[in-house]
Symmetry: C2
Subunit: 366 residues, 2 copies
């Protein structure tokens, strides 16, 4: 076995999920994630944790979704499994990113509605989402298999403690700040972040960070004004959206366009009221990620990018009792900050052309 698979498993179990002896764990294994599952089994056993391995197959999901006419609300045996779990490790990596392409949207929504309790029980655990590199994901990324494996481990096997310390500087700036302004070609947008708390997302549940890889600092903005061009592509419900453009007034999208996927963008905005508002402002900080690969788990973490999510805000960013944007969706759109760009907090430049002010090469002037 590639030693990096073992390192991945160790990082997942120790740094990300903080597994300890006696932890009840669910390990969800995608069709192509077998090797990582074997490595995770060894690490969990060495820590005396108790795993149940579930099979997360896109083709099995498709067969269920297409054939089910009515749903039981939160099946008791499934709910009991997750309610009794301390951690849930999602090992992604399928054999076909389009495995559920012919499942109608209403079928997906009916299933999602019926399993809300199960989902909440999962989200109440120390859950972590990661991905084992498969040929299918390499294809989606437009990469050779070996090249894609190098890419994934370059993003996953980082010095997370060091990145956490770096992220802490940006978090401090955002926590103290009141307004954020993002400027690049086609973008000049401002939003308020006063009273909101930034999350230091460094791939560990101790910081409310549930992705491996991670590498971002995010908060929940409001009162957004201005326009944004999203130069990097995103995929929403199987449709690729390229060069999306949004204009905000008083926190709400009032005009929109896209070079590709304009219809999907319009559908997204029509989901509900919250889908026309921002739920997240995120700043990517993972320098192991230097390109988009059609997988948001990686794309939104890319150093030198900022992403804005339409839809639901994360509770971790909100003061107790305050509701942020509520929506059935949360879709990240990414704007490139590596060219001529500025990220300002309360009028001060925090990042210019992708370089933070505490990094070498930062140009103070403008």
């Amino acid at each position: 076995m590639d030693e990096r698979v073992r390192d991945h498993a160790r990082t997942l179990v120790d740094w990300s999920a903080r597994i300890e002896a006696g932890d009840a764990v669910v390990v969800s294994v995608a069709e192509g994630a077998h090797d990582l599952a074997v490595a995770v089994a060894a690490e969990l056993a060495a820590r005396d944790a108790d795993p149940v391995f579930t099979y997360a197959s896109g083709e099995v999901a498709r067969a269920t979704l297409r054939n089910r006419e009515s749903y039981t609300e939160d099946p008791a045996h499934e709910l009991a499994l997750y309610e009794g779990s301390d951690a849930v490790l999602h090992l992604g990596g399928g054999r076909n990113t389009a495995a559920t392409a012919d499942v109608p949207g209403d079928r997906r929504r009916a299933s999602a509605r019926a399993t809300r309790g199960v989902r909440e029980a999962r989200l109440a655990t120390r859950w972590v989402k990661t991905v084992h590199p498969t040929r299918s994901l390499a294809q989606e990324a437009g990469m050779a298999y070996e090249q894609y494996r190098d890419f994934v481990y370059g993003a996953v096997l980082r010095d997370w403690a060091a990145l956490r310390a770096e992220n802490a500087r940006l978090k401090a700036v955002l926590d103290d700040g009141s307004t954020v302004r993002v400027v690049n070609e086609g973008t000049d947008v401002s939003m308020r972040i006063d009273g909101r708390t930034a999350v230091n997302s460094s791939a560990s549940v101790v910081d409310d960070s549930h992705n491996l890889p991670s590498g971002e600092v995010f908060t929940a903005p409001h009162a957004t004004e201005g326009e944004v061009t999203f130069g990097l592509p995103t995929v929403h419900s199987g449709t690729r959206i390229e060069d999306a453009w949004l204009r905000f007034e008083d926190g709400e999208v009032v005009a929109h366009d896209a070079a590709r996927g304009a219809g999907a963008l319009a559908d997204l905005l029509d989901t509900d009221d919250g889908a026309r508002r921002l739920g997240e402002l995120g700043v990517g900080t993972n320098r192991g990620i230097d390109r988009t690969t059609g997988n948001l788990l990686f794309d939104e973490k890319m150093a030198g990018t900022v992403h804005l999510a339409l839809g639901r805000a994360y509770d971790a960013c909100l003061p107790p009792g305050e509701a942020g944007t509520d929506s059935a969706v949360h879709v990240d759109l990414i704007t490139d900050m590596r060219g001529d760009s500025r990220l300002e907090v309360d009028g001060e430049v925090v990042q210019r052309n992708g370089t933070f002010r505490w990094e070498d090469g930062f140009e103070a002037g403008g």
Copy 2:
């Protein structure tokens, strides 16, 4: 998808497990059983049953068993999953029948001891064990892949209602009988079956039959006397036992031998007191199975064979309150009845040379 995979799934869900709307189901998927899992998902969804798919990988099990030093007794989340389930469908079919060959026996036993409650919860459901044909199993059988697929579906896709009616005739004879005598070359053994109930094993949980394929009638004998030669091979804990020979006195093995695997046979007999006594007398009735393939799920069901199991008796064969043979093991050994042979109940020949007395070609004289 091969239409036979769908037929297999339908037989499993309807005839074997008797799945109904709202049933909470666990589907355990072996490494090579993906296609059957997809077909089962479609059938369960069409019946509005609620499945949780678990991943039953030999390599994952090996990683756990080799790395675990101490065990939690019956992990609560796993126990809750099975205690909340109405049915458990085991879809076997791995990629390597020797996947756990280097796991020491004491490790296996420690794991088995720690999960007794989980196992009992599973056995309290409408559980069914079946197998998806894989290349690994074809190899074990010494068959080409296509040939093995034909073999498996020939055994699985039978007219089970008709076989159940046939089995009922043999069950009636055994239920009414007091002594059974089995005679073939190297075999002349008698045992008592009075007071015991035969199980009509026709692949349906309604008859306490939990294997697909099935095709046998079995009961729990006692007071065994005589000798048996087992001309067909069996595999116990990874070791092949060929041409085993046992002599019984007063229900207990008093002498034994084997052309191959004599050590494994001796170890088996030394497990505990029950391992030297019979727990089962079974008569194979599945005419779709015409050869042994190194997989007891099939081998013991072969028409024209009788199997005797050393070890634990099944409760379904015993009168309420009466204990049969108790043991940690239950290992089937198979004797061939297709040559010069007789199966007698209370002195009357019920089967001669593999043909039952109610079948065409039965020779009444001897």
